[in-house]
Each structure stands twice: as C-alpha cells, then as structure tokens.
Symmetry: C2
Subunit: 289 residues, 2 copies
C-alpha cells in the first residue's frame, strides 16, 4: 500500500521523498502557480479512477489562464494522470493534486513545471455522511465586491499562494473549532479556507456567486446544485447574509476530497442539522450511503 | 563568476540547479513559509557582506513567529550566511534571499526547511540614483484597516504566498508602467508589490503605518526615515491619501535590493522629481553617490 505517489511531467512516477523542485522554481519562490484537487476512488477490483477529472482539469486550465501560464496540453495531463493511476495501489479513497508552476526563474526557457501527487485518505466509516464540523466566522478583510474589475487580485484562481487559507484554518482550530467560514467586511458569508459554502433555508438551496466575490468555483458545489435542482429543490446563486447561517435548515462546507460536511455549530451557536437533508446532500455529491 | 548560489541549512552550499525541495514541502504546496531579502555588496578586495543582515533576520523571525513556525536559531542562520558569503564570487551587487518553510507534510518530524540564495544583480551605473519608475495605482481590494484584529490575514508578514504581488507587477507592465502602488478601498496609498512607499510634500517625509494596514515593515524605509529625521527633515508615519501622490515633491518605492526608486509618473500623470532631493534620499539608504 502506497501512502503517497508523485509523478512529474516529462519524468513520470518518481520517489515521493525525492526532491524535484529547485529553489528558483517560481511556484516555490513566489507561490506563483496553481493547483487543483480531485477525489480518487479505488474500485473493489483494484482499479483507481478520478471523480470529475475533466471538470478539475477545466478549472486548472482556467487558473493557469488567469495567471498567464501556458501549461501542458489536456492530453499531456491525462496521460500523466493515467500513468499515476496505474502505479497507484491505495485501497480506499485518496486525493489527487495537480500542480502547475510558472517554472524556473534562472532557466526561463525550461518552461512550466507540471506534477501531481496522490495521497491516501484516512478510512471513513461506510454509510456515514461526511463528518459534521464546528465552524467559526473570520473576516476576509475584503468587501463582497472586492474582485470586481481587479483581475490582479486573482479572485477565483486556485493559486499556490495558499498561506492565508492555512492561517485561517489554524485560527479556527485555535478557537476550538474544525474549520472557518470567511465573512466579507459587508457581512456576507463567502466560503471556507478549502471549501465552498451551501446554505439551505426554508427549502431553498443557496450558494454565494463567484466573480466579483473572488470565490473559487467549486466542482462539487456545482454538482450538488445541479442534483438539487433536478430533484425539484429551488436553487439560488446569491449573496448570503452572515446572519442567515444561524437560522438556516442546514449549512455545508463542500470540497472534492471531504465532500459536503454539515456544519453543526457557528461561533459556538448550534446550527440545526436535518439528518435526512444531510444524507440527501451527501448523496448528491456521491458521498455517504 | 557565479550568477547564483544556493545553500541549505544542514547541507551547506549545493548546486544552484539541484532540486532540493520535495513536492510535499508546505512552502511549495501551500506557500506556507516566509522569506526576506537583503542587499549584498562585494568590496574591492572581493569580500562580500550583507547590508543590515541583523535587521533582515529580525524581520524573518517576526514573519516566522506570525506563522507559528519554529525556525533555526540566529546563530544557525548567521553561520549559513557566512558559509555562503565565503563561497560567493560575484563582482558587484547581489541579493540575498533567506527562505523558511513549515517543512514536509508527509514527514512532519523533519522540521522546517531553511535555505538561502544569492543572485547577482545587473550592473548599475555608478554615481546614479536608483532608476526612476513609472507607476500605476491598483486597488488592494481592502480597506486601510483590514488587518485590525485579524492576525489570520497575515498583515505585515513576508510570506511565500506572493502571487498577488507578482500579478500586480505584471498588471503594471501590461499598462506600460514599471511598477504598481496599491491603493486601499478607502483611497489611501499603501505600498508597492515588492516595496515600501515614501512621499515628500512641502518638505515633510511621510510613510504609511504598518499594523492595521497590513503593510510590511521596511528595513530600508526605516533607514531613510531615521536619516531624514537626523538631517532635520520632519517625518510622519501616517495614512497618505492617494490623491497626494500627484501633488507631492517626491514619491519613492523603496526596497532593499533596488533602493529608493523615484516615481516620475503615476497613472500617466507626471510627478515632480526634485533631483537634489532624490540624490539625498538615495544617499540616506546607501545608494547612489
């Protein structure tokens, strides 16, 4: 059983502990690159597959375009992923991470660096929806329209410059919670450090818009919204006042790896959890059941 | 003549093109680390020295503390720098970069990664003040007090998550300028992507405060302010309205590597440049002359 696998475009699978990045790689030196993460499932026959790979490659392409990095072709990424999946011998769930950097500062002609890793996840009990989380709200320090007409702020781009997300998650743990929900200076709930946000109130499912808010488009949020709409549940993409979190029928932080995690507490106040609704939302994203 | 030198704590000087960073290094994977840059001068006898090394190590320590990374001791950094300077054979000016990451995600017991690089700068004509720049203003997307009581936003921390600074510099070039000046949503001039800001109006030197603004403390700005005060020039640390840039007697973007660069144009409008004042400010930072 491999806990970690690393593959580099142009080299194939390498040792997971082997240094493959130079000091002048701009992804390392300046966080100047992008990434995307997707869920890996290994079937009972041992064959591994990536959930929604195409959508994740689309989002990676969009991030690269926003950074003006000319990354590998779709075929090259798909071939690297296929090579990695053949070499992967995990038994349960795993996370695929695709990384693209601008390349080397001291050797600009070498071009971008493209690589991936696969990391096994701790086993999750079968038949359970994703783990419920206690959340705290943290200011994002920005108004909800901060990214309007300001592409240099890189709203909606999944860059390697992720330290703010890490620091917010650390602050949440410092406060005794599991995760954070960012709130804009004009008091709208935005997203989590590594997750999108879904709020259900009076039977209506809402998620905040991407675009001017700088919120990253979420493959799994989109999947849930589409399934909800198909099941007849009204769906709205709109700004959600932070105060609505406390009165909702359900709040979820949603990521590809963890699925839709129901929020049971915000800033110490309990949030209603409708178990049946939570199971439905988990099923919409292909989790639980 | 070496154009680049790399040294890693625990290993010493290594090949500049040698990969030394693993894929799971958190500085690479999440921009979760900090750095600092200082000016290196080689004397006529070939001996290299770092300008204000102690102040830059202080700032690196402050960044590491804000990120809750237990970095190497001061002695260990100083020994690594000394080893690198002995191995350095550049002829002119260079930039020392110190980098500290949180270490490996898959081998947390390995501890933080500490390394440095020295990179030669293009030759600068003697007896000239640092190059004059055309600047554009770009919104920072945040109010000037965004970082108040929000340490998770990492204001004033020189993190490896630098892609926003890179993107702003790229936007400036796209607009035909050399550099950018960030302006808060409440319309105060803040700093540049890689530089502090000094504005002189009616004989008074001003720089925006660190703290609630999130502006990084600048070793070279502090040096200039101290020299200005000593020369009898009134000095104020206060918010500077963006409109004041256009009516100033002088505006400078200030970094350790480039020194105080006079701004000759903001958003296409010419800025007054008092040559004598520009030479005085350059001299205050140990540049020009």
């Amino acid at each position: 059983m491999s806990a970690h696998l690393v593959a580099v475009l142009g080299r194939g699978v390498v040792g997971a502990d082997e240094p493959v990045v130079t000091v002048d790689d701009l992804g390392f030196a300046r966080g100047d690159g992008c990434f995307d993460s997707a869920r890996v499932l290994t079937d009972t026959d041992g064959a591994a597959r990536v959930v929604n790979l195409s959508e994740h490659l689309d989002r990676l392409d969009a991030s690269a375009a926003a950074l003006d990095i000319a990354g590998p072709t779709r075929d090259a990424w798909e071939a690297l992923v296929a090579e990695a999946l053949v070499a992967w011998h995990g038994s349960g769930e795993a996370v695929l991470k695709l990384v693209l950097t601008r390349g080397r500062e001291w050797a600009p002609n070498a071009g971008p660096l493209a690589l991936l890793s696969i990391t096994e996840k701790p086993a999750r009990p079968r038949g359970r929806v994703p783990r419920a989380l206690r959340a705290v709200t943290l200011t994002s320090g920005r108004p909800s329209d901060a990214f309007k007409d300001a592409p240099w702020l890189l709203g909606g781009v999944k860059t390697m410059s992720y330290v703010g997300n890490v620091a917010a998650a650390r602050e949440a743990k410092r406060r005794g919670a599991d995760d954070a929900i960012f709130v804009s200076t004009d008091r709208f709930a935005m997203d989590g450090p590594t997750a999108g946000l879904i709020v259900v109130t009076d039977g209506v499912m809402r998620t905040p818009p991407t675009g001017d808010t700088g919120i990253l488009a979420s493959v799994t949020v989109d999947e849930i919204l589409a399934a909800a709409a198909e099941s007849g549940m009204p769906v709205r993409v709109e700004l959600v006042p932070a105060g609505d979190l406390l009165t909702a029928d359900g709040v979820w932080l949603v990521s590809s790896g963890r699925g839709p995690s129901p929020i049971v507490e915000v800033d110490g106040s309990p949030i209603r959890v409708d178990e049946e609704l939570a199971e439905r939302v988990a099923a919409m994203a292909g989790f639980g059941g």
